[in-house]
């Protein structure tokens, strides 16, 4: 069973003459352990696709299944809980809560799920340790660099037993070394069995994915084939 399945999903904003078709008839399955990148120019519908995949927004038509369940068919309260337990989000501007330390930001979703503060704190700290962020755990977001903030945001997105991590331009304003660190963290999460979708216009980030889907004017126009072994590059060599 796919962790994420979009079936013929379309989204229209507005009505009449002001109507905008943001995405049109998109079908996409993402399996456990798979990292899929969605590439397209700004305004192509990539972010809309991600908010719909994360059940933050309803499609105008089509179905969205997360781990086989349509979150939109559940009650508001159940949906919020399922979303929190199943899906991790990473945004371009990190969206960390400024009044909470790094570790409190990471452990908050666990506390909301009913874990005791102490247990949630321990798990959050472990998540930060794994990402080499132990020293930053007690700092507030405004005491962290951009790269550190985004790594904390990723720790928050993968903590617990999340099945799906959705990231919208996760390295937006970061330099390429930090961008690469962010992608390595997502790849590591996928190796642990998480499914992930990353929306980006950056080919270097997208190339970390197992599969790259291209979207244009709200439609999925193409996707990459599974890459042959990288060894072929070394055998040929660019100058031979």
């Amino acid at each position: 069973m796919s962790v994420l399945e979009l079936r013929h999903v379309s989204k229209i904003y507005g009505e009449g003459a002001a109507q905008v078709q943001a995405i049109q008839d998109i079908s996409l399955s993402v399996e456990a352990g798979e990292l899929v990148a969605v590439m397209g120019p700004s305004g192509s519908g990539k972010s809309t696709l991600l908010t719909i995949a994360g059940s933050l927004e309803e499609p105008t038509s089509g179905q969205v299944l997360v781990a086989g369940t349509s979150l939109l068919k559940t009650s508001r309260a159940d949906r919020a809980r399922l979303r929190r337990q199943t899906i991790g989000y990473v945004f371009q501007d990190f969206n960390l809560l400024p009044g909470l330390t790094a570790v409190e930001n990471v452990s908050l979703p666990l506390e909301l799920d009913g874990l005791t503060a102490r247990k949630a704190h321990a798990i959050g700290l472990k998540a930060l340790q794994e990402l080499d962020l132990t020293e930053q755990a007690a700092r507030f977001p405004d005491e962290l660099s951009g790269g550190e903030r985004q790594r904390v945001a990723i720790a928050r997105a993968v903590v617990g037993n999340r099945k799906l991590v959705l990231a919208d331009e996760p390295s937006g304003a970061l330099d390429s070394a930090n961008g690469e660190a962010v992608m390595r963290m997502l790849v590591a999460a996928c190796h642990r069995g998480v499914a992930s979708v990353v929306v980006t216009h950056d080919a270097q980030l997208a190339s970390w994915a197992n599969r790259v889907v291209f979207i244009r004017d709200g439609r999925m126009v193409d996707q990459t084939m599974p890459p042959p072994s990288a060894e072929s590059l070394l055998r040929s060599g660019p100058n031979q």
């Binding site: 080919a203 997208a206 790259v212 244009r216 990459t224 070394l234 060599g237």
Partner: protein, 193 residues
């Protein structure tokens, strides 16, 4: 890639044998640039002829013959390292030509042509990135060579994205006669043929 100067760089660390030079060259470039042993010897002979390296006169020709850099060789290496390669003239780029041609051919969707090339480039980038994944096997020389390739391919993808956007805007704007931008550029910059 100047094999000549790469060999001078390796010899600047101390005298070495031909086979050793080949091995070290491949190690330093992360085996991204394989080199055959014939290229190494031909290059060493030319360097010796030009007085940039010296060989052990006592040893026979062959893998055991040692070489060391001369003072002229060290000057040559220092000068080469600081001489920027000529990037001032736009190279004749096959992909650029294909996209410019595709735009003019009736019944060809230039966006579809762009996407074919974009997908190919991203697939290549995925292969290079796969090489980066295992950090344990990733030495500095290899990392730099792979990064260089990824940045180069990335710049081509960015150009395609920009071209895609320009064609899209051009399709919605009123047509105007083709500006003589290319011939002017060629005269000014002297595009390579």
């Amino acid at each position: 890639m100047s094999i000549r100067h790469a060999l001078l760089a390796l010899l600047s660390e101390g005298p070495k044998y031909g086979l050793q030079l080949r091995q070290e060259f491949e190690d330093r470039t992360g085996e991204v640039w394989p080199l055959n042993v014939g290229q190494v010897y031909t290059t060493l002979q030319r360097l010796e002829r030009d007085g940039l390296v010296e060989s052990d006169d006592t040893a026979d020709e062959g893998p055991q013959k040692g070489f060391r850099i001369t003072a002229e060789g060290e000057d040559e290496l220092a000068a080469w390292l600081r001489t920027p390669p000529d990037l001032s003239l736009p190279p004749r780029d096959e992909l650029v030509i294909k996209i410019l041609v595709a735009w003019r051919v009736p019944d060809v969707n230039v966006h579809e042509v762009i996407q074919v090339h974009r997908r190919y480039l991203v697939e290549l980038m995925q292969q290079w990135t796969r090489l980066k994944e295992d950090e344990a096997q990733f030495d500095l020389g290899f990392a730099l060579a792979v990064d260089a390739e990824l940045f180069r391919l990335d710049s081509v993808v960015r150009w395609l994205d920009t071209a895609d956007g320009r064609f899209k805007r051009a399709a919605t704007e009123p047509a105007h006669p083709v500006a003589p931008a290319m011939p002017r550029l060629r005269r000014r910059a002297g595009v390579r043929r």
